[in-house]
């Protein structure tokens, strides 16, 4: 692995932000809209029936974490699409750049922009809606780590799909977070789902994060399932990341054989 080559992929994206500040909208605009919208919804819900339940911390907190994961996935996909739109694959893959360095560069780029987005969400949700990012203490870190790894896995997987099927397959990548959120228990406990869908939730790592998060906030104590939830969530995320990376490499090799890298551009596919 060459850090210089990984840095090249990262700095290329940085130049794009520097060269066109409107690109910053991709980091901040939707996040801010989401947080403001859900902030007011949770505030409104909190006015019902002398509620003692912390809607802001539970719902808004879950949405902030979910958005963080979604931004990681979409950040990787966007950085990858950038190379499609600029027809840059030949230049990159004919250079000494290795596939794992390329993926590492995309991941670092996405991680950096997602962290900035996360901090922006927290900066708004705290003062405006009274959200306390540290309500779950240091458990926030493992929760975020699981979501980060799963977001990376999804981003790499979607990039692999686009690499295989062509640029028009990008639309498959955008609704993935929304579809997964149905099963991940972001907005409601997994027990709300019909039993067959609860089975689906069990193979989605974020479901373990959000179940644990809700349990801690509801009782103020760590649930007995916390350790096993963290373990299963982390193990599943890592397994998905390994599978997604393998999938991308297989697609890359397939494209090397059939000539798709040389011909890959927005006009041809």
């Amino acid at each position: 692995m060459s850090y210089s080559r990984i840095f090249a992929i990262f700095v290329r994206q940085l130049f794009l932000y520097k060269g066109n500040p409107t690109r910053l909208a991709s980091i901040f605009l939707w996040l801010v809209i989401d947080i403001v919208q859900w902030g007011f919804i949770t505030k409104y819900l909190g006015t019902f029936g002398q509620a003692t339940f912390g809607f802001v911390t539970v719902i808004l907190g879950a949405i902030i974490l979910w958005e963080f994961m979604a931004r990681v996935q979409q950040g990787i996909m966007m950085a990858f699409l950038e190379d499609i739109w600029t027809q840059n694959f030949i230049n990159f893959f004919a250079s000494p750049l290795k596939v794992r360095e390329y993926l590492s560069g995309l991941i670092i780029t996405s991680f950096a922009s997602s962290i900035v987005g996360f901090l922006a969400m927290v900066a708004i949700a705290g003062p405006v809606f009274g959200y306390n990012v540290m309500a779950v203490g240091l458990m926030l870190l493992p929760f975020m780590a699981i979501l980060l790894i799963f977001g990376i896995a999804m981003g790499v997987f979607v990039s692999g799909v686009v690499f295989r099927l062509g640029p028009s397959a990008e639309w498959l990548g955008w609704p993935i977070p929304l579809v997964l959120s149905l099963f991940a228990g972001v907005y409601y406990p997994i027990s709300t789902l019909p039993v067959p869908l609860q089975v689906v939730a069990k193979v989605i790592p974020p479901s373990y994060v959000f179940e644990s998060l809700r349990a801690i906030l509801a009782t103020g104590a760590f649930p007995s399932t916390l350790a096993s939830n963290l373990f299963v969530g982390a193990a599943l995320s890592i397994a998905y990341l390994l599978m997604a990376s393998r999938f991308f490499v297989v697609i890359y090799r397939k494209n090397l054989k059939n000539g798709s890298i040389a011909r890959f551009n927005a006009e041809a596919l």
């Binding site: 210089s4 290329r12 600029t86 840059n88 893959f93 250079s95 000494p96």
Partner: protein
């Protein structure tokens, strides 16, 4: 002129289902040598270059760069190779300097800022350093592509129609730059073009390809007369239209 081998290709073949795009070709490019790879559209020139670049996997055969097999240590070998092609665009939304910086990092160029300064001067790009590649003219873009192609001082330079769509004045400038580079650095250059005058002016040797095979090889200044043709263009037309008249190498 030949002081070693920059590129050695042996029995290289690329098949797509029933189609043989490249059919068991063998040739070499010496260090300090400029070799023209000629042939009609679809002859297999770009396929050959893509295999040497490592972005297309051969069906069989071997490629050695500076006597090292490309299959082994592809990344390290690619540090000694670079290319410019009419179809390989530099990212249009980065400036000239940013593009050179990114590719300098990718190719592991030492003293990168100095190297970029030199290239901007050598390729007359200083005033465009902060201009995005997407709004450069064809000539300026070609100079940027060439600057990127030599940023790592490659020992093997692959050029796929580097002067296509350029006016004669800029074409001549580009040719001079490449020739200077090949002679000055004793690097091997593999060059495809449809401009026969250009090939005759620059190349030490030419290879004629048709239907995936190399049909002819030799000195571009003497090859036409050896085959009863008045010039290189006449020979090219024969290769393109009546390849069976010529005996395969």
């Amino acid at each position: 002129m030949n002081q070693g081998t920059a590129l050695r290709i042996t029995n290289l073949t690329k098949e797509y289902d029933a189609l043989k795009a490249v059919d068991a070709i063998s040739f070499s490019v010496g260090l300090g040598e400029v070799v023209g790879l000629l042939g009609p559209n679809g002859a297999g020139k770009t396929t050959t270059i893509n295999m040497v670049l490592g972005i297309l996997e051969p069906t069989s055969g071997s490629i050695a760069v500076l006597d090292r097999e490309l299959k082994r240590g592809t990344s390290e070998i690619r540090r000694m190779v670079n290319f410019a092609a009419v179809y390989a665009h530099m990212p249009a939304n980065l400036t000239v300097r940013q593009n050179l910086y990114v590719f300098g990092l990718l190719y592991g160029v030492k003293d990168l800022k100095d190297r970029i300064r030199t290239l901007l001067k050598d390729y007359d790009l200083e005033r465009f350093a902060s201009t995005r590649a997407g709004i450069l003219s064809s000539g300026e873009l070609s100079r940027l592509n060439l600057a990127k192609a030599v940023i790592n001082k490659p020992r093997l330079l692959l050029l796929d129609e580097p002067t296509a769509s350029l006016d004669p004045s800029i074409s001549q400038l580009v040719r001079e730059r490449i020739k200077e580079y090949a002679v000055g650095t004793k690097s091997g250059v593999l060059w495809t073009s449809h401009n026969m005058n250009e090939i005759e002016a620059v190349c030490d040797r030419v290879l004629f390809m048709s239907r995936g095979k190399i049909l002819l090889a030799g000195d571009p200044r003497t090859l036409p007369s050896e085959h009863g043709k008045k010039d290189l263009e006449d020979l090219f037309i024969t290769v393109a239209r009546e390849p069976l008249q010529l005996k395969e190498m």
